[in-house]
């Protein structure tokens, strides 16, 4: 109980990932969906750092760095697209984005 092992961190990572999945499932506002995506990425980063520490291998930290870089560029492009959509349509709700449905 007092000794913190790899499984503690994996459990924490799973809980955070599940919270992110719940957010993805119940949100309709696209900005809130982006927040849920950030939670998913951070949960995985914790698992990477924990495995990197407990196996004495730096590859996990490297992957965490690349995940952070991808998250940063995702936010830049995604927010730009959201701003363009909001300027044209006045809302960023998912149910209004069905123009490609046949």
């Amino acid at each position: 109980m007092m000794e913190i092992g790899l499984n503690h961190y994996l459990v924490l990572s799973t809980i955070l990932f599940s919270i992110g999945l719940v957010g993805v499932m119940r949100r309709k506002n696209l900005l809130m969906l982006f927040f849920a995506t950030e939670i998913l990425l951070n949960a995985v980063n914790i698992a990477f750092a924990a495995i990197s520490h407990f196996y004495g291998d730096l590859t996990g930290q490297m992957f965490a760095f690349f995940v952070i870089a991808i998250a940063a560029s995702e936010v830049a492009v995604g927010l730009g697209l959201l701003i363009v959509w909001h300027k044209r349509h006045g809302n960023i709700d998912l149910e209004h984005m069905s123009t490609m449905r046949g």
Binding site: S13, F17, I19, Q61, A69, V75, V84, L94
Partner: protein, 191 residues
């Protein structure tokens, strides 16, 4: 002992912050809760000895990503309450099943890979930042450069997408001009 106390404290704080972030109906509450959760997550990286990753987490996530969201939210109508999605039962069922399988895989993976060996073992007698630099600039040099190009592409995309009509100020224009601009934009959408 202190590690356990710190782990449970920050685990509780992170989970509660992220729970607030996905359940609140106020966009600003979600943003602040998410920023706090990001900072608490960096505490795990410091506990795990990944000092550089923890610093990057604070600088990039709390400093850059959250600031970007905060500035982006100025474009949106964030004062009204966020409507929640009515559950599509097929998607909920599918994602819940996926999450359950994921939990099983996460707990089975360390047991299966009991004889795992470190591919790039930690260099003795070097700080964490030095170790990261040694591995990043030898084994992961090509992904590092590709990530740099990807960030450049994202920067150009962000400027091109969000910078349209930045020279117009909606607050300084008269109502007639705003209505004319609105009509033009509606026409463009219809075409």
């Amino acid at each position: 002992m202190f590690e356990a106390i710190a782990f449970y404290l920050f685990a509780f704080l992170t989970i509660s912050m992220f729970f607030i972030a996905v359940t609140t109906s106020q966009a600003l509450h979600a943003l602040t809760a998410l920023a706090a959760g990001m900072i608490f997550i960096s505490a795990f990286f410091f506990i795990l000895g990944a000092d550089f990753l923890g610093a990057i987490q604070i600088v990039v996530y709390s400093g850059a990503v959250m600031a970007l969201y905060a500035f982006g939210m100025m474009f949106f109508d964030t004062t009204r309450d966020i409507k929640e999605k009515k559950g599509n039962s097929a998607i909920v069922f599918g994602l819940s099943t996926l999450a359950a399988i994921l939990i099983v895989v996460i707990f089975a993976a360390p047991m299966v890979s009991g004889t795992i060996e470190a591919l790039y073992p930690v260099v003795e007698g070097a700080g964490n930042t030095q170790q990261v630099g040694l591995v990043l600039f030898t084994k992961y040099l090509v992904p590092f450069e590709v990530a740099a190009v990807m960030l450049l592409v994202a920067m150009v995309a962000g400027i091109v997408l969000a910078g349209k009509k930045m020279d117009l100020s909606l607050t300084l224009m008269s109502d007639d001009e705003v209505m004319k601009l609105k009509n033009e934009q509606n026409k463009k959408v219809l075409l």
